[in-house]
């Protein structure tokens, strides 16, 4: 994967600023940083390679076509991109009715990315899975079905045979707990990544 060294030192946010000026190599660098996670996320929701590619492509095109106009200064670009991809994915999964029988089933392990990228993703994943594992079962179930399964909260209430209010409060409590568990460690800025790689 040819990475543009002249952009490698830039923050994600700086790259977005360049993308908004139609800098293609900045888009490439952003893809190299976020594309792997984005595709993994889309695949986990959609369970279909072609649809997952569509979701990622559409999100990056939306980024390319609109960048400067709506990524706020304080938002983390990677989080924003994943938000776009996720939204595309859930919209597609609902549209395609591609509901799989076992949305909770873990996705396959990542294939080889760059060693650094793979290590990073694995670490991040373990940390989040660790936090999820500490949630009460019902909260974890609500969050996983919603986020990875693409279910709306109304669909979840129906599927689980619970009042909508119960589903909402499980999501709320679960996210609140996750926020505490992941604490200040959940920023996706390059600083965290740098800090981690430098201790390796």
């Amino acid at each position: 994967m040819a990475r543009r060294r002249d952009h490698a030192h830039l923050s994600d946010e700086a790259l977005v600023a360049l993308v908004s000026r139609s800098d293609e190599s900045a888009l490439a660098e952003l893809y190299d940083r976020v594309g792997g996670s984005a595709y993994g996320l889309a695949y986990r929701v959609l369970r279909d390679e072609a649809l997952a590619e569509d979701a990622v492509q559409e999100a990056f095109l939306a980024l390319w076509r609109s960048a400067g106009s709506f990524i706020p200064e304080r938002a983390k670009a990677a989080t924003w991109i994943l938000t776009l991809v996720h939204r595309r994915a859930v919209d597609l999964v609902r549209r395609e009715q591609r509901r799989r029988a076992e949305p909770l089933e873990s996705a396959p392990e990542p294939a080889t990315a760059s060693a650094e990228e793979a290590a990073w993703l694995r670490l991040d994943r373990e940390r989040v899975q660790g936090a999820l594992a500490q949630l009460p079962d019902q909260q974890r179930e609500a969050i996983e079905l919603a986020y990875y399964g693409g279910y709306t909260q109304s669909q979840l209430a129906e599927r689980l045979g619970e009042p909508l209010g119960t589903i909402k409060s499980r999501m709320f409590s679960g996210l609140t707990r996750l926020r505490e568990l992941l604490g200040g460690d959940i920023n996706d800025s390059g600083t965290e990544r740098t800090a981690w790689t430098s201790t390796t």
Binding site: S22, S37, Y39, R44, F70, T79, T83, T112, D124
Partner: protein, 221 residues
Amino acid sequence: MDLHDLTAGYALDALDPGERERYEEHLATCEPCREEFQGFWQVSGSLGRAAGGPMPPASLRERILEQARSERPNVVPLRRRVAAPVLSSAAAVAAVVAVALGIWSLGLSNDLDEANSVLDVLGDPNARVHETADGEANLVVTPTGRAALVVRRLAPAPAGRDYEIWVFDRGIPHRAGLFERPGVAMLSRRVARGQRVAVTLEADGGVEAPTGPTLFSAPTA
């Protein structure tokens, strides 16, 4: 329905399209919800990065970059708009819209299909992108004529005024939606090849025919 208790569902993308839209409007005016959302959003971002899954094929990267490369829009000269200060508190607005993904549409999306369609349009691989000369706006038009106007820099509409979008067909203006601030506005009207899209500042709620000067416009030929 109490909109305050939709924050978690919104952060997880678990709202129905109608709820999603109502919540985004609510978020624009509710500071406590914005704060709560910021925290939950970081969590859902972590969930996203931790999703696992296979790596994408190399062809996906090439496909995206090739498409982006092919979209260097033609630059079309147009009258410069009256200078409006760039809103220095854009960040404040944007914080909202971090959220709403900056997508702003006003008074045109009672149709729930439309509520979902902003990303459909912006992400459509077959859409054509037209840029105004000063780079202040992009018009993205799908093959079926659905269109979104991406407004990069513009002062928010003064109190009592709205920006109105027009589709000019052989010189005749047709109303195509309202917006109040930079962001992405969905056009309520389809755009055909050869038509021109323009924006004027009008009275609150819009008018039947444009009265103000054209702030920017994009031909679609």
